[in-house]
Amino acid sequence: MKKLLAVILLVVPCLAGAQPAQPPQTDPLLEAMKAELGRSMETLRAAEASPLYYLGYEAYDKTSYSVSAQAGSLYNDDYRRSRLLDVDVRIGSPALDNTHEMKGREASNSKRQEAAALPVENDPAALRSELWNLTDKAYKAALDQYAKVKMNKSVTAEEEDKSDDFTPGAPHVFYEKAVFPDVNKEKFHAMARRLSEKFKPYDFIYDAAVRLSVDTVNRYIVNSEGSSIVTGNTYVRLMYSLYTRTPDGMDLSRVKIYDSDGLTDLPSETEIARDMDATIAQLKAQRVAAPEQPYSGPVLVESRAAGVFFHEILGHRLEGHRQKSEESGQTFAKKIGQPIMPEFLSVYDDPSQYRHGKQFLRGFYRYDDEGTPAQKAVLVENGVLKGFLMGRSPIKNFSASNGHGRRSEGRGAVARMGNLVAVSSKTLSPKDLRQRLLEEVKKAKKAYGLVVSDIAGGFTITDRYLPQSFSVNVTMGYKVYADGRPDEPVRGLNLIGTPLQTFSRILVTGDEAEAFNGTCGAESGWVPVSAVSPSLLFSEMETEKVQKSNAKPPVLKPPFTDKEGK
């Protein structure tokens, strides 16, 4: 369990139809939440010797539709509505409360908490009845935890960072709901069927799917500081995936995702079909490539992959709460004001940024899950570390939240990324960048350099009891030869390294930045994020072989490509 928490995953990574502000008093869910919060706070504040000093509700009102197809017919077609409630209870005082990190033998700091389904119908009595039930449960659990925290603090060594557990917040009132878009189901059914047919002629494709999902999430946040916020996002994703296995037992897959905040922004079917053809060709070439051997030398990480790289290697290590956690590696905790990467690079995270160029950014939001307005957090300026991603858990020298307290349902919020953006003042055009890579290859006396076009996310370890390393899986890349041979695709490698050393080896960047949209998983659950970066040229980077399934490819060919079996 502990290990799971230690590993931060990023799987391949929206605002449309936002309704103008409505009079909040007409929203029965919001009213029920306020009423029950008020009643609970009044009674529970001093119900026990340990005071309740903060109570917050967050309800997720979700509408989701998804359709997927395989081999020309619909695999799944699903529409659902749901409402889930999270209750944040804080007992004690901002200086020390029930959320305080446990240390030593008792250290199990799961962020999991009770969440309950609420009626989807706006009936005040039923809504309040469920709110009451969960509040009581959460309050009792918090009392119990607070007693444990106090004892744990008494019997364990003093912490290095003695910051409070919670920082006060200002009351915010905001009301803007997202509206679930009209989905022409027939149109998307037909499109999904047609697109999924495209994989059928290829006998090396062992699994493939096309999927469209549309999710509208309206978050209702009320708390005992007087905040009343309703804010919504719509996320539209169209994706296709294909998978094969090599004769030496390596599983290879490719995924392409189109993200948007509305159905009208999706690419045309023709464009998607064209992309599919290219992906199929790439996978075919990759399948017959020789498995990669461990390599150390110059590496060019292309733009979208570089975004993921920053997310994994830098972003997670700049999440505020990790700087004071006694469990955390704290790579950057004491490096404020010091250079941590070349001076031509700056990095910030700005969840209030809605688009990068034309590309919708999934990491966009107006308020975080702790009721703080989203704002730009400057992390690195000209190579020098300036700050951290902050939720409402203060750390030494950084007491205020910058609107990055995030979570998914059933978890306590911690500092997380939204839209992580890296900018560079030392750039080269794509052509010159490739030329520079070749120069570096020659300088290092290597036969070839590596270009990484796509990475499937990866993981980075930030917990102290394990090495502070990262490993990201390269799903597409190629070798660029110094002697001018044609490029060759690679398969079966992970980029590995340690953060500080790796950043110091960035030589120059590309002059264009693309956005990577994804969903990031960590201790506070899964949150939509984006990462934007130019391509990065590293003087040296190391790779390792991937773990293989070692299963043989299927004995028979897929049925529709097996002429003998017809």
């Binding site: 017919s73 619909l74 695999y75 077609d77 009595a125 049925p559 097996d562």
Partner: protein, 568 residues
């Protein structure tokens, strides 16, 4: 070689003529043919047997709490499980769990919801390949295990059977009037606005029309449909000592048409709400040793948990960690008592899956053909109190080598021998009206020098049983005073020392029969599939002696605030 040729011949003949219209069945049939004729890896064994089982489910779920809609969803799924056997029917890869009990399950995959020949075949092909490779590995591991343990007493792994075929279809699936049901479910859940002692409640309707398809390499094939209609009422209460109690009243029918009118459902919910409310202020539980009268759901669950569940699941897999088996798999312990007295001499038991109603009430346990393609016949289980048979699949055991058509299970679990519709009968002189049963109960208690006797009307579900316990604890137990027959609900209690003796201790039964439709939990604790089953049995059972004690469960604090609705 000869076996294979015969199997193939049978297979080709059995391909149903109308499968051309059923794209799913056609895909299953065609991929099966390719599997048995061409699937062979290098110099390794080819499968001697293969089967595909495909279940379509389309569930509409409507739930409400306290008068408001909570869930209103539709979810369609199609799942396939594949079984491949290498070796011979005498000894193959089956019934071997190896080191990892949790992996003892057939290959399972989700298939396209939409009927698509290519898509279904593609998924089956992928699943088959995976299962074939696993089967080869299991086979060699099982052979090594047999050698290591020097197991010489073998009864075979797949019994021969005449391949059954059965094809049923219907023109249209009865549509659920969702709008009307939403109102009904909301109204039923609003009944709890009258019961302040109940902390939380929910009413949930689930309507799931299903289509089941099967083909195997011996020529068995079927397609039939059945409807799962459930209404579950869940309730949480906390008694005055702080003990939290929860229960779920589950009602199930064979079809939407059989669901009783709203007024009947509302009356059932009212009764349940009233009973559960009484639990908030119960009489203090204490140690009790004496006669117990089981009524209603408790009488049926008593027979289910002690008898039916223990004449199921005869065959147990081999496992590296045999001592852990009991934590993973339910063993049918009564199957070891064949020919012995298991019930009082005045009782008989039989099972007849072909019976789909009893006195006008539908039996959800009915099925036309079992999961292995065997058509069941009526089965006598107990004669004059003696166990004469138990449920059998095609997995032979020492006592029986052939199937009696009771292999059942959901996609994702191996079919195991399980009930269909079970009928308990008793000689007329041992049947009596309920008031006489109660008199007899009090008389036996008085004979034992007791001031009170116990009536149990609801038992906890089988899956809530404690490890090693034969019977789940009572939810609704009543203290009945010997002097005047008055009843008070008892606080949290549990059984101690229940053995199979309790079945033989049945003294007298009700003169009325009840139909109990329920879902029997599968034997694999790591993957419990539920199958619909029915018990037709006397509606009350008087048991000579049972022992109760206060529950070990610890109470919780009462809520800090009153319920917002009742606090008004």
């Amino acid at each position: 070689m000869k076996t294979v040729l015969l199997a193939l011949a049978a297979f080709v003949c059995a391909s149903p003529a109308f499968s051309a219209q059923d794209q799913v069945l056609k895909a299953m049939t065609d991929e099966m043919r390719r599997t048995v004729t061409r699937l062979k890896m290098d110099n390794l064994d080819k499968p001697y047997f293969a089967s595909y089982y495909v279940v379509d489910s389309s569930e509409t779920a409507i739930s409400a709490v306290f008068g408001a809609l909570k869930e209103d969803s539709f979810n369609a799924t199609r799942h396939a499980s594949a079984e491949l056997r290498v070796g011979t029917p005498a000894f193959d890869n089956s019934w071997y769990a190896g080191r990892d009990m949790n992996s003892f399950e057939p290959g399972l995959t989700a298939l396209n919801e939409e009927d698509g020949y290519d898509a279904v075949r593609f998924s089956l092909w992928s699943l088959t390949d995976d299962v074939y490779k696993k089967s080869l590995e299991r086979y060699s591991q099982k052979k090594a295990y047999q050698k290591k343990k020097n197991i010489t007493e073998l009864y075979g792994d797949l019994s021969p059977v005449k391949p059954g075929t059965y094809f049923a279809d219907r023109k249209a699936v009865p549509a659920l009037d969702a709008a009307a049901w939403r109102e009904r479910i909301k109204a039923l859940s609003a009944i709890f606005r009258k019961y302040p002692a109940i902390q939380w409640s929910q009413v949930r309707l689930s309507y799931t029309p299903r289509v089941v398809r099967f083909v195997n390499s011996e020529g068995a094939a079927y397609r039939y449909w059945w409807d799962k209609v459930n209404l579950d009422v869940s309730v949480n209460v906390q008694d005055k000592t702080g003990l939290k109690l929860s229960d779920e009243k589950a009602m199930a029918w064979r079809s939407l048409a059989e669901v009783p009118p709203y007024e009947t459902l509302a009356a059932e919910v009212e009764t349940f709400a009233g009973q559960m409310s009484a639990l908030a202020a119960p009489a203090e539980a204490e140690v009790y040793l004496g006669p117990v009268l089981f009524e209603d759901q408790a009488a049926a669950e008593f027979l289910n948990q002690l008898f039916v569940g223990n004449v199921s699941f005869a065959r147990q897999p081999w496992a590296e960690q045999e001592e852990w088996m009991k934590y993973y798999i339910n063993a049918g312990d009564l199957t070891k008592k064949l020919g012995m007295r298991v019930l009082p001499a005045f009782m008989d038991v039989s099972d007849d899956p072909a019976r789909d109603s009893f006195n006008g009430t539908g039996l959800i346990g009915a099925y036309p053909i079992d999961n292995e393609g065997v058509i069941p016949a009526p089965l006598e289980l107990v004669k004059n109190g003696k166990l004469v048979n138990f449920y059998m699949s095609r997995a032979p055991v020492k006592e029986f080598r052939t199937s009696n058509g009771h292999a059942r299970g959901f996609a994702g679990e191996f079919p195991t021998p399980r009930p269909g519709s079970v009928f308990f009968s008793a000689q007329p002189e041992k049947r009596a009206p309920l008031d006489e049963l109660k008199k007899k109960l009090l008389a036996v208690a008085a004979d034992n020098g007791l001031d009170y006797a116990v009536i149990v009307r609801r038992l906890d579900a089988e899956q809530a049983r404690k490890a090693d316990a034969l019977l789940a604890g009572p939810v609704l137990a009543y203290k009945v005073l010997v002097k005047d027959g008055s009843e008070t609900v008892l606080g949290g209690s549990d059984w101690t020392g229940v053995t199979f003796r309790a079945l033989r201790d049945i003294m007298l039964v009700s003169d009325k029969d009840q139909v109990y439709n329920y879902f029997q939990a599968g034997p694999f604790y790591f993957n419990r599939g539920f199958v619909p089953a029915s018990i037709v049995a006397p509606a009350a059972l008087l048991v000579q002696e049972m022992e109760l004690k206060p529950t070990d469960a610890k109470p919780d604090r009462q809520p800090y605030l009153p319920h917002p609705y009742f606090a008004r």
